[in-house]
Amino acid sequence: MSTTEESTAPVKAPAVPPAPNRLKDITRQLLGTRRVIVGLVLLAVLAALAFTGPLLTSWDVGGRDFSSMLEGPSPEHWMGTNRTGQDIFTQATAGLQKSLLIGLLVAVASTGAAAAVGAFAGYFGGVADKGLMWTADLALVLPNFVILAILSKHFAGQGGWIVLAILLAAFSWMVTSKMVRGLTVSLREREYVHAARFMGVPPHRIILRHILPNMSSLLIADATIMVSAAVIGETALSYFGLGVQSPDISLGMVIAEGSSFATTAPWVFAFPTALLIVMVLAVNMVGDGLRDALDPCSKSRRRGEHHEH
């Protein structure tokens, strides 16, 4: 008891060497990786394009120019027009904006859910663990494609893309949550977690303060991968008209409209597809670099290999 009282008293803190700043380390390492730099720059360019692109041109997103339909790139229409005279550049950049937002939203939501479920199951064990992991199994078996397709039609209209993002997240947390659970089970028996528990720290506090921060690297890397997975999933669904619905526009829809003209009018298909590929590539580059920088195992492996050769 007395020690705690002493520590709360306003005594001048002894000079401690500065704690190793992990954030600084990681930042330095990340900036030293070419992949990450290239990926980040690409992403920044794409984000700028997505949010200013539709404003740069004189065309509205849904606007039609009846004097030029299915025409190639011109000073008037930078990337040409589609069959109904819509400006491809405006459409694609507006779609990119939605795709970026969907990717981010899904990544945050699904990684958050995976962390919560996995940590809860791993920490408490027993019935909670069994139940939650069984739910994850069930979610893996549920025909997610059917559910997404049916419900996205149902929620078509303003704000429907948010529902789609939530649904995409609802079907992408399972694998990560299993990994988080495995890590939690091993972290649970560490001394500092025991210490915290015996001091009477409530479980949710232990999970938030002591367990999840210890796997932040996994979670961050996973969230990045999730961005690209979500964007790819959204494209695939929208291609068949089952994803984002009409008043909203996404990259998948623009690509789908362009795909039937891929041979006759390549610009309708090429530009949005190129945007999508560059975006996913950039996200993957950042994610890959992050995983290498954050995961101590992969780092030591790289170093070890360097020595061997």
Partner: protein
């Protein structure tokens, strides 16, 4: 081991039952088969629509619980109901399942074998030219949605055919309609049509397997037992195959289960784009046709394949990892 597998199987049956029931209830509450009949030209009288719907067990005025009970009663005896056009779902399902399974199985074997081989070899040659090329290719392929790969390959095939002036590559349909000949000609025709869609699926699978296998192999190559195996006088090849690759395959087998769901949906898009009449294309068409029973049947099929893949990976796991065999 036997008891473990039986428990697994029981769990799978429960999961499949729940997934299928959920899909049925969702489809029955959200799809609108009445609309399919009402929009016919000339519009049939409401009584006729009702009696049609009743005959198909699709009437939205019948309580959902009653419809579900009728449907599940049929499913237990192997009858998945009727399509909105009155066809028998079960018999149609088996033809279409054959198409899809053929596509998936060949693509899985091709893609995963190639991916594992390339990934493992890339790990052995880490940072050499082969490794760099393989990593770059798989990295790029992973960033392209299957839909886009399918379309681009199709466009390339069209261009190539036009350029050569002959039908070198087939990109539409599962076989030539009205084609007749001896069995080997029919088989050849089918294989000819299967090349591109299988390639599309295999390429996507190849990329993810190559990347994963490379990482796993790198982990194993650095470990002590591989060094010991080499030190005790095994040839490099033997040490790599018998010890390193075998161990590195274990996590890949688990990974296979997780990618299988993505593969099934990837097959959906490939089928639809290449005009194959498989499960995936059937599902997309049936959602547009408001066909509740088909949606439920396809969901059942997908759940079964995912569970089968998971079961298969359990068995492979036990075969590769002696510690699991009890």
């Amino acid at each position: 081991m036997g008891k473990f597998l039986v428990r697994r199987l029981l769990n799978y049956v429960v999961l499949i039952f729940l997934a299928t029931s959920f899909a049925y209830l969702l489809a029955a509450t959200n799809l609108y088969p009445r609309g399919y009949f009402e929009q016919m030209q000339p519009p049939p009288p409401p009584e006729a629509v009702d009696s049609q719907l009743d005959a198909l067990n699709l009437n939205d005025r019948t309580p959902l619980a009653q419809r579900y009970a009728t449907w599940i009663g049929g499913v237990v005896t192997g009858d998945f109901g009727r399509t909105v056009q009155g066809g028998d779902v079960t018999s149609q399902m088996w033809t279409k399942a054959g198409v899809t399974l053929r596509l998936i199985t060949v693509a899985t074997i091709l893609g995963s074998a190639l991916g594992i081989a390339v990934g493992a070899y890339a790990a052995v040659r880490q940072y050499r030219r082969f490794d760099k090329a393989a990593t770059a290719v798989s990295f790029f392929v992973l960033s392209v949605p299957t839909v886009v790969i399918a379309i681009v390959v199709q466009v390339l095939a069209v261009t190539l055919n036009d350029g050569l002036g002959l039908q070198l590559l087939r990109y539409s349909g599962e076989y030539s309609a009205g084609f007749d000949g001896a069995w080997w000609e029919l088989l050849g025709n089918r294989i000819h049509h299967a090349i591109l869609p299988t390639l599309v699926l295999a390429v996507a699978l190849f990329a993810s397997f190559a990347r994963y296998q490379r990482n796993m192999m790198l982990d194993v190559l650095g470990s002590d037992f591989v060094r010991t195996a080499m030190a005790k006088g095994l040839t490099r090849r033997r040490a790599l195959f018998r010890h390193a690759l075998r161990t590195a395959l274990i996590p890949t087998v688990t990974y296979f289960t997780f990618t299988f769901g993505a593969l099934v949906s990837g097959a959906t898009f490939t089928e639809k784009i290449y005009g194959w009449h498989g499960m995936g294309a059937w599902l997309i068409d049936s959602i547009a046709r408001q066909d509740v029973h088909v949606v439920a049947a396809v969901s059942w099929f997908m759940a079964i394949t995912i569970m089968a893949a998971s079961f298969l990976s359990d068995i492979l796991y036990a075969w590769l990892d002696p510690r699991v065999r009890v």
